[in-house]
């Protein structure tokens, strides 16, 4: 499968589906992307075509992983598919101030 995550400086861009079919691959790539050098990661989700529960879990996992490393993860752009899910679940704070959403 072709690489879905592109890391450039602080920017982490995910392209294509974020669903149960791609979740396993995404998991490794996203986590690796976060562990990389920079402290703040800007997550660009503007090219995500589809998102389901599995995709959402990856997002939550990524946030938790970043927090565990003491880094910030900020969603700076979201496609309509991503926005729809975040709005449905009232998770819009994810895009605004991820640091405020501490782990339970």
């Amino acid at each position: 499968m072709k690489r879905q995550v592109r890391s450039k400086g602080a920017r982490l861009r995910i392209v294509g589906e974020m669903t149960v079919y791609t979740a396993a691959a995404l998991q490794t790539e996203v986590l690796a992307g976060i562990t990389e050098r920079t402290a703040t990661k800007l997550l660009d989700l503007s090219e995500v075509s589809e998102m389901d529960t599995a995709g959402l879990q990856i997002l939550l996992l990524a946030r938790r992983h970043a927090l565990a490393l003491g880094r910030e993860l900020q969603i700076v752009a979201a496609s309509s598919a991503v926005s729809e899910v975040l709005q449905l679940l009232q998770l819009t704070t994810l895009t605004a101030a991820p640091a405020a959403e501490a782990n339970p």
């Binding site: 149960v20 979740a23 396993a24 995404l26 998991q27 986590l31 389901d52 529960t53 599995a54 959402l56 879990q57 990856i58 939550l60 996992l61 938790r64 992983h65 565990a68 899910v85 449905l88 679940l89 009232q90 998770l91 339970p104």
Partner: protein
């Protein structure tokens, strides 16, 4: 959670809710019956019922349920919020309060409480019965104008919706089975309003054990919908085997066509912990914590001791001449002062809470007497010591009742005098030179000077030949055994008179005064010290004895001078009467060569106190006086100095009074 441990929390929460409920009910009497107010009352009742159910307090659940049913009728505009209904609901609120209180004592329910509950239930059921019959009669009577039914507003405002709390967790395999939990939520949205959604990610594992194809999430949703429970359940039909689903009714607004149960028959919401509604507000409130008052008092006494100890240390440092030590102790003293202020601040509460109680008093009493009276509140944010607040309630209640009973005239008399038929009682609070002033004002007929004089003569309180000023005459009402009431009503005139009020206020180191203008009304002014524990004092001396004056009451200190042998001096063109502390104390020590006058102020009056020496500011921890000193009328308390010596705290109001009286007698003579 241990329920027994949580019980005090329930009692405290209920007290808060009942207070809110009462406030809202009283708002309704003021003529503002808004849907928000009704909802607030309903929510209070509902939350109490929910919590009581959690503790298995069936009595409370059963009673509140009936109250709730009636309130629901009001909410759906089926029942009008009449004066009678408000009075009934207020009684119900009192009853719930008693029920909750009896939970705290763990005593068996007493029979009067049970009887009272039954009476109220009967009255409530009657209201429900009327309301059940109401709409049908109205529509039958005027079929062509169904919208004109009495007490019914257009039904567009009445939503027949229910709030639900849905808690759902999916089995780990649901994703691989080809189902997406988000889909179910999207489906719910087609017939529900998703008021709140929370993603439960507590079971989400760390990166090591995370499996991308396992479902870890759960969802917690608050829904509002007109659809029945079965439809919500139906939404999850496809994953019925693969999820745990919990649906709880948050608050029901029963369907219009549903029969209103007359008794407690709906299932209590015990499936899940009933959420307190209005979560955002609750979050704001949770920034404050409840602390046991005993702990706070302990802290204050310890700080009192700390101040005395610190004063001792700095005294030693000064004597020892160790400048470094002196510097450190002054830092310490500054910190101690800050701690003291912080600790006292903890005890400060707004007087608004006490004032709000009087809305109820005014409502009940004016109903009882058939007088139309409104209550105006001012300065509710004024803060004062918790202990003072607790102890001022009873005297104030008496003053308010008195004002309603004796102050405000009957409506006919008021109209004849060209006043509005409805009377007004005003409660006002403000800070004034180290005291808090609370005024109870009525716009009634005022005190009858002649009647008071006659009564005072009859009781032998005054001699016939004495010329008294108006304030002096008015203040006679505070004398023991004085009452001019023509008729003994249910409210006052039972022997518990103004003298008790005065005694209670004096016990708080406060003073009370009364003034009145015939035909315009009466104002009772209560002055209380801001705190009962620690004050900023100013130390003075006569001979070798130290005295303390409250710093807030001091205006200035001037060099001693007297108008050739009289007991007053000229203060920038004004006469300033003074008292010589030396004479009061009766010391035999030789007089100082350069005495000073401390100018003090109380209740707008100024007077001087002649002392031998000014010693400066001093943190004063007030200690009560021993019985021996009770009769000494110029001393209000004692304090311990850094040296361990005792200093007496001078009673400024008494001294001011004494100086003025003496100056006047002198002038008269």
């Amino acid at each position: 959670m241990n329920l027994d441990e949580a019980l005090p929390g329930f009692i405290a929460e209920s007290a808060d809710l009942l207070r809110e409920m009462e406030a809202a009910l009283l708002e309704c009497t003021a003529g503002s019956v808004t849907p928000e107010t009704i909802n607030l009352i309903f929510r209070s009742a509902h939350t109490i019922k929910g919590s009581a159910g959690l503790f298995g307090l069936d009595d409370i659940v059963a009673f509140v349920h009936v109250v709730e049913t009636v309130l629901d009728g009001v909410r759906l505009n089926r029942t009008a919020m009449s004066e009678e209904l408000i009075a009934l609901l207020l009684s119900c609120k009192d009853h719930i309060q008693s029920l909750v209180a009896s939970v705290g004592t763990a005593a068996p329910p007493d029979s009067t409480l049970v009887t009272r509950g039954e009476e109220l239930l009967a009255a409530l059921r009657q209201v429900s019965a009327i309301e059940a019959a109401g709409p049908t009669d109205a529509t039958a009577g005027s079929p062509e104008h169904p919208g004109n039914a009495i007490g019914t507003r257009p039904s567009t405002s009445a939503q027949t919706t229910t709030d639900w709390q849905v808690l759902v967790r999916f089995s780990p395999t649901v994703l691989t089975a080809g189902m997406d939990p988000l889909g179910f939520i999207r489906y719910l949205r087609t017939f529900c309003e998703l008021r709140r959604v929370e993603v439960l990610e507590d079971t989400l594992p760390g990166p090591e054990s995370f499996n991308a194809e396992t479902c870890y999430l759960g969802f917690h949703m608050d829904l509002r919908t007109s659809a029945p429970r079965s439809r919500i359940e139906g939404a999850f039909e496809f994953v019925r085997e693969d999820c745990t689903l919990q649906i709880t009714e948050l608050h029901a607004e029963p369907h219009r066509d549903a029969q209103i149960p007359a008794g407690p028959s709906s299932p209590p919401p015990t499936q899940a912990r009933p959420k307190r509604e209005g979560a955002p507000e609750a979050n704001v409130l949770s920034r404050s914590i409840r602390v046991d008052a005993g702990k706070l008092d302990y802290l204050i006494t310890r700080i009192g001791e700390l101040i005395i100890a610190a004063a001792g240390v700095s005294l030693l440092a000064r004597r020892g001449g160790n400048s470094e030590l002196e510097e450190r102790t002054s830092t310490l003293a500054a910190l101690v002062e800050q701690v003291r202020e912080g600790a006292l601040q903890l005890r400060m509460v707004k007087i608004g809470g006490t004032f709000d109680r009087f809305k109820r008093v005014v409502h009940d009493v004016s109903r009882e007497l058939g007088k139309e009276i409104s209550l105006a509140l001012r300065g509710e944010d004024t803060e004062l010591d918790k202990t003072v607040v607790e102890q001022i309630g009873d005297p104030l209640t008496h003053l308010v009742r008195n004002a309603i009973d004796h102050g405000i005239e009957p409506a006919e008399v008021r109209r004849a005098r060209g006043k509005p038929a409805g009377g007004t009682i005003t409660l006002n609070a403000f800070h004034d030179s180290g005291s808090i002033v609370i005024e109870v004002r009525d716009d009634g007929g005022g005190l009858r000077r002649e009647k008071i004089l006659a009564k005072a003569l009859e009781k032998g309180l005054i001699q016939e030949d004495r010329a008294l000023t108006d304030p002096e005459i008015f203040n006679l009402v505070f004398e023991p055994g004085f009452s001019t009431a023509d008729s003994v009503t249910n409210l006052s005139g039972r022997g518990v008179g103004m003298d008790v009020v005065k005694r209670n206020i004096t016990a708080l180191r406060g003073t009370v005064g009364i003034n009145s203008v015939a035909g315009e009304g009466t104002t009772v002014t209560v002055r209380l010290p801001l705190t009962l524990a620690i004050i900023n004092g100013f130390q003075v001396a006569v001979g070798k004895t130290s005295f303390v004056l409250p710093l807030e009451s001091i205006e200035e200190c001037i060099e001693f001078s007297a108008e050739n042998g009289h007991d007053f001096t000229n203060l920038r063109g004004h006469v300033l009467p003074f008292v010589r502390l030396r004479e009061l104390v009766g010391t035999k020590e030789p007089a100082a060569r350069r005495p000073s006058i401390v100018v003090v102020k109380h209740a707008g009056e100024r007077a001087g106190i002649v002392v031998d020496a000014l010693l400066g500011e001093f943190q004063t921890v007030i200690k009560p006086l021993g019985k021996m000193f009770r009769k000494v009328d110029y001393v209000s308390g004692s304090s311990i100095l850094g040296t361990g010596e005792v200093a007496l705290i001078l009673d400024v109001p008494a001294l001011v009074q004494q100086a003025i009286v003496r100056a006047r007698n002198h002038a008269a003579a």
